[in-house]
Amino acid sequence: MTFELNGFTVRLDGALIVNEVDLSLSRGEAVLIAGPSGAGKSTLLKSLCGVIPKVVRGSVSGFVKPSLDFLHRSSIYLHQEPWFFITTPYVWSEVLSFTDFKRLSDVQEVLNHFKLSRHLMRSTYTLSAGEVQRLAFIIATHSSKDLILLDEPTAYLDRPNADNLIKYVKELKGFGKSFIIVDHDVSVWLDVVDKVYYMVDGKLVEDEPEYYSKAYEALNDLDPSESRDCLKHFIFEVDEIKFPDAEEPLLKDFKLEVCSGEVVLIKGYSGVGKTTLLKTLAEKSVKDGRIKSVLIPDNPLLYFSGSTPAEELNLANPQLSSKFLQDFGLSSKSNIPVVKLSTGERRRLALASALARGYELVFMDEPTIGLDPWNKYLVLKGIKKVAELGTGFVIASHDEDLLKIANEVINLEDWR
């Protein structure tokens, strides 16, 4: 698989998203593209595999060798939200239907490599985000396509699983597969990729933009909130938590104490039950009714009650809505539909809304998934800001950066 792009340009609704990109890739090569959210990374991948213009309306121009049609036919694109890549309801059927595997024993073997073999007959809907991401990766890398476009393939993975996936990419390069990878974390890919590019305002550049070092510096300067007040605290006791389709309980006799203004991080490998525990605690809190609490899910869109940021915050606190919009950097987006906001903006709006509503406790699931370093910093700073005003947080995440603002860490692996 060898191809070359010169002056490759993509426009969506007339707006220039990918601007005169030059890129070439040989058989068995891999390139990594990093860059801030909205820079055009995913748009580039989608136009290489034909999603743009065949599914999403847009125009693609520039020189493509051998041809754009050839690229469309030879590539497979792993969407950044892996759930939507999975088609069938069972793990075995997903692998057998979309790869060249002929027998269940072969499927079992490849699943085993990604620690998924015990899920062979399981319903794909019940898999955790990390398990879905690994399954999607298996499909993408075992199809007949030679060019594999991976959009944030490690976003939902814990460190060991991410390392395993990256190592696998390295092995596949040896078999002639070519990769274009979009990821925010450059350092983990350095041993595997042949070139690293950054995408800034639709252009590909080789030098790391100043933006990155500033974002990492800001992230490193974060520290936990000092306004923890344990005179006011909330206690949750859970006798037993079970996955609905499991025989054995996930947790037994679990007790959690959260102080006012404290950030508690629930961590653990993907599939350990972090989200299940978080949702159980949130449901318990609703039933109990004594604590004013709210859940911000990993898809923050589900949190909103208003159709625009202004309406969301007006419903929460009409007097202070413009102040909250300003504080969370959303003033310029106040009247655009919430569906048009980026993931980082959605998370910040949810935090602003939680603060405006005066919750004592916020349950938050994977608040930094898919965010570039600067947006991650903004969200973590937002959490810290709300915590310093006395709100307690219970956060489920595998992201190590959350340790920077956590007052207490619960490792679910120790409970199993």
Binding site: K46, C49, G50, V51, K54, V55, V56, S75, I76, Y77, H79, E81, W83, F84, F85, I86, T87, T88, P89, Y90, V91, W92, S93, L96, S97, F98, T99, K102, M121, R122, S123, T124, Y125, T126, I139, S143, S144, K145, L149, P244, D245, K279, A282, E283, S285, V286, S293, V294, L295, P297, N299, L301, L302, Y303, F304, S305, L315, V338, V339, R357
Partner: protein
């Protein structure tokens, strides 16, 4: 708001029941029986219900046996509760017309049996088999629909539950939770279209379980015998 809260709990509970009675448990041998046989079983149960009160009881017994002998006992509880929803509704609404508790109870048994039998049919059919058959019949274009439906419905129901939980926590109207679920589903349809377009070719593979096919065939035979005997007697 209190009525909204109760309604929200009811919708969440119903969603959970649908998930548990149809989607949550993975694939198993009993889902590898020809769809035509599953359909025949359902049809014999419908015929039995229409024959007489005794026929109804036989159909109910046959449906219970279907769950037990085909390894789905754990689903029976949730399916029974779900089937009770239309049953209770029919019992209450039929009373003013029949003016007889006995007649209304007879209608109730029929409705419960048919609901439970339909849920069993939906539980045991395998969307992969439907896709496999469509592919064999050169209907490749539409073969993705049954599998994507089976994949997407529980996903959407789970999000509906989450949105309603959040609406309760935020103390906002129920419709706001429903509205954001609709918006989310719209976004999902775009993502599904994008992700599925650039995936490989869908070539479903499937196998049949002889053991479970034999069990289902036996159940069909029992029902057919009961239909014959009932027709002979009445």
């Amino acid at each position: 708001m209190r009525i909204g809260g109760k309604l929200s709990s009811l919708v969440k509970y119903a969603s959970e029941l649908i998930i548990r009675s149809l989607f949550i448990y993975g694939d198993m041998e009993s889902r590898h029986v020809p769809v035509i046989l599953n359909l025949t079983l359902l049809l014999t149960q419908v015929v039995l219900v229409n024959l007489s009160a005794v026929g109804s009881l036989i159909a109910l017994f046959s449906t219970l046996l279907t769950y037990v002998f085909r390894g789905a006992s754990k689903v029976l509880k949730y399916a029974s509760i779900l089937a009770s929803i239309p049953t209770i509704w029919y019992f209450i609404t039929s009373l003013p017309f029949t003016l007889s508790v006995v007649k209304s109870l007879a209608i109730t048994v029929n409705v419960f049996t048919l609901s439970l039998a339909t849920l069993a049919f939906l539980y045991f059919i395998n969307p992969i088999e439907l896709a496999y058959l469509m592919n064999r019949l050169k209907l490749k274009e539409v073969s993705l629909y049954p599998v994507l439906t089976w994949k997407a419905v529980p996903h959407i129901l789970k999000d509906l539950k989450t949105a309603l939980t959040i609406a309760s926590m935020k103390n906002v109207e129920l419709w706001r939770g429903l509205a954001i679920t609709v918006v989310t589903v719209e976004e999902y349809s775009q993502f599904y279209e994008e992700a599925q377009h650039a995936k490989g070719v869908f070539q479903p593979k499937y196998w049949y379980s002889w053991r479970d096919t034999a069990i289902t065939a036996c159940l069909v035979m029992i029902n057919l015998t009961a239909i014959y005997l009932l027709k002979l007697c009445f």
